[in-house]
Symmetry: C2
Subunit: 436 residues, 2 copies
């Protein structure tokens, strides 16, 4: 039986998961793949830490280029993370004609165009199922399963940390800070949670999804990114009253003028499956012109779920290693010379519906002033909620939901509303997606 | 650019959808596939009916073997249905070295072992994404996306007709007969609905899912099949009160002794995503040892969704046509010589939890008698619900939910319960799956 030798770069959570899955399910994987996939070399910063786990038979060292320079290694599995050394090692491996499997979303979102171009010249694969939504085979679904479709929109809960925090805030009525502390205590959030809570990790993944869905180069720089740290407990209450849930979505949407690529807290109708994805789970909703809507749900992170995706890529690579490069599934789902240079639209041109929470003094005429401003900017109102002022207070909130409109109209309307004498602070703005 | 010529057998709903998708999305598909996929011949019973749609340039006739005998045709797309003529045509095409794409679940569930064996001898592909859950790329997810996993269980809502009927029964509190008539009026159910409502269609699909998930030959004959026609409105009420929904599931479960392959109405906890799949939509839940639980949701039927799956298969076939057969993804996910002869367990050995609705006279001691019988058979009770008799009546229902147990124990307990003097009719039995 053919043997494929893997060089494993990184033995943290994901790396040790890959090691474990390849070992535990070796027989099942061989029965499927028709070949044997073996770890042929392991590189970690501190080899002593993992020597017992790796065992005496597998070469173990600390220099990533040991994998690059080992002629016995067919495939580099990069699960080290980072975008500097990881880039150098991946490019060097490609230059040596090695196949690459990576779970590194940041690397591909930032350096993907360069990496895919070099890989194409070298005729090697770069597989990255594990880079988006962990164990969910969403990259395969978009690249292959939905290949008959002109994809119109992708919207995903693609960061488990923030979904956990949002679920806690809604279920327990707690503040963002308390929910974040809870997530950190349980290991769902890191000590420095910036990448997750400010939406950067989700934007890396949305960038890759957009490229695969639409056949465009990766354009992380164009993404609009807004995290969840400014959400208030009352927004969850109002959303519930309106029949919505708040989720951090990564959205890629195709429009005639270009693509929208955006990450932000989003109100979703509570009846939609995506609105009911709770805790650290991930889900990606895809709308295509032939298939209609489909949804893919599962664990977005974790040792074995992520390893599941890495090893599935290894099986694909093992099968395709002798196939002519032009017959393989292209890196970004579309043949590399067929990628279209479609721009990412600026935030002002984004088109969606809006939720506005407007803090006002409870005075006659304020609602009339607000609705007149909205009408003047061509924004049509879908629903309205006005809270009674609490006992003794004379301020309250007006909550408006609009129909779909262009962001710049909301920008202008918001400025005018904020300038009204009865309005006590800038309106809080959240976006709404019906997913229909 | 390489051209792949397709012989399209059948121009009903699915066939005309395939025609439409290949035409409308030709550019997008070529950008992905790196080749052109063309309809090279169409065969239908009555060519005159579709001549305008097909146009003057594509040969059109009524003899299926015209496709088999046309040396210009690379791939047979069989969307004609049936298991007799379809079998002959598919086997003849394979013998001529043509690739096959089919949406025909009945054909593969019944004749799959023969068809796959012949295809293997001839070195051709048989792709069937459209045969299970329409537009959802579940075959690809199981065969490739989850290839690192030892799959433990698959449970799917894989028949849209019955899911529509069950959604209507619950939402509107109507009887099965009324809901079926509504489904027929809306085109969700056929004039003779037997295949759908008695679970046979779902069992065909579950048979294929079991083979792909576990790497076993297709074993439709071993499937336990129970439809939805005997469900009563009160079962939906009781299920709701217990926090459950009733869905027709196709289930394939791996156990040490063999596999369970079964289709039956099933209570699912209302919080699970699968419990919230409504109307004619489909969804498949998969549990694997590495990935944990994943779920795939989308339209299970319809012209364009099914065509989406057929055309995705065509893209796969086009890419793989020059690849050595042993490097391709195997028909049933596992290499053909690695399929395991694992038996399907008989119904008496199935292991699940149960819902029992027991019609009783409202007399002292009846509950004690029932619980004693359950204890004697080793069945442990998880929850109980007793309805007050309606005004003037002296009969009522006792509803029991058990912990997981073996079906034969429930068989014996049910017989003993039915023999109790206070019990007025045979207990109604539904199965319960927690999906955890």
């Amino acid at each position: 039986m053919k043997v494929i030798k893997v060089g494993l770069l990184g033995m943290g959570t994901v790396g040790s998961g890959v090691f474990e899955v390849l070992k535990n399910n070796a027989a099942e994987i061989s029965r499927r793949a028709g070949c044997t996939i073996q770890i042929g070399r392991v590189v970690v910063r501190d080899p002593e830490e993992v020597r017992t786990l790796v065992g005496p038979d597998i070469p173990l060292s600390s220099d990533p280029f040991d994998i690059v320079n080992d002629p016995a290694i067919d495939v580099l599995v990069e699960v080290m993370g980072g975008t500097t050394l990881a880039r150098d090692v991946v490019l060097a491996a490609i230059a040596k004609g090695k196949q690459v499997v990576t779970a590194n979303k940041a690397l591909l979102a930032v350096h993907g165009n360069e990496i895919f171009a070099r890989a194409r010249e070298a005729g090697v694969m770069v597989a990255f199922e594990a880079a988006v939504a962990g164990g969910i085979p969403i990259v395969k679904a978009l690249r292959e399963g939905l290949s008959a479709n002109r994809v119109q929109m992708v919207a995903g809960i693609i960061n488990g940390t923030t979904n956990f925090i949002l679920s806690e805030m809604r279920d327990k009525g707690i503040s963002f800070d308390v929910a974040l502390a809870e997530a950190q205590r349980l290991g769902y959030a890191e000590a420095d949670p910036t990448f997750d809570i400010e939406g950067i990790d989700a934007a890396h993944k949305a960038t890759l999804l957009a490229s695969i869905a639409f056949g465009v180069p990766v354009q992380f720089d164009g993404a609009y990114i807004e995290g969840i740290s400014k959400l208030a407990a009352e927004d969850f209450t109002y959303a519930d009253q309106l029949g919505y849930r708040i989720k951090l979505l990564g959205i890629a949407r195709r429009r005639a003028e270009g693509i929208e690529l955006r990450v932000h807290p989003t109100l979703i109708p509570a009846r939609r499956l995506l609105a009911n994805v709770e805790g650290a789970m991930n889900a990606v909703w895809v709308k295509g012109d032939a298939v209609g809507e489909t949804l893919y749900y599962g664990p977005g992170a974790g040792k074995l779920p992520t390893a599941s995706a890495v090893v599935a890529d290894l099986v694909d690579v093992a099968r395709q290693i002798e196939v002519a490069p032009e017959s393989r599934v292209p890196y970004l789902a579309f043949q590399q010379d067929q990628l279209q240079q479609v721009p990412v639209l600026p935030a002002a041109e984004m088109e969606t519906a809006y939720y506005l929470r407007i803090p006002v003094r409870d005075e006659p005429g304020v609602l009339a002033d607000i609705t007149r401003i909205m009408a003047d900017e061509g924004v049509s109102i879908d629903a309205m909620l006005q809270r009674q002022p609490s006992e003794g207070a004379n301020t309250t909130d007006i909550i408006l939901m609009t129909h779909r409109t262009v962001e710049k109209c909301i920008d202008i309307a918001s400025r005018h509303i904020e300038a009204l004498p009865s309005v006590t602070a800038a309106p809080v703005r959240l976006r709404v997606e019906a997913l229909d």
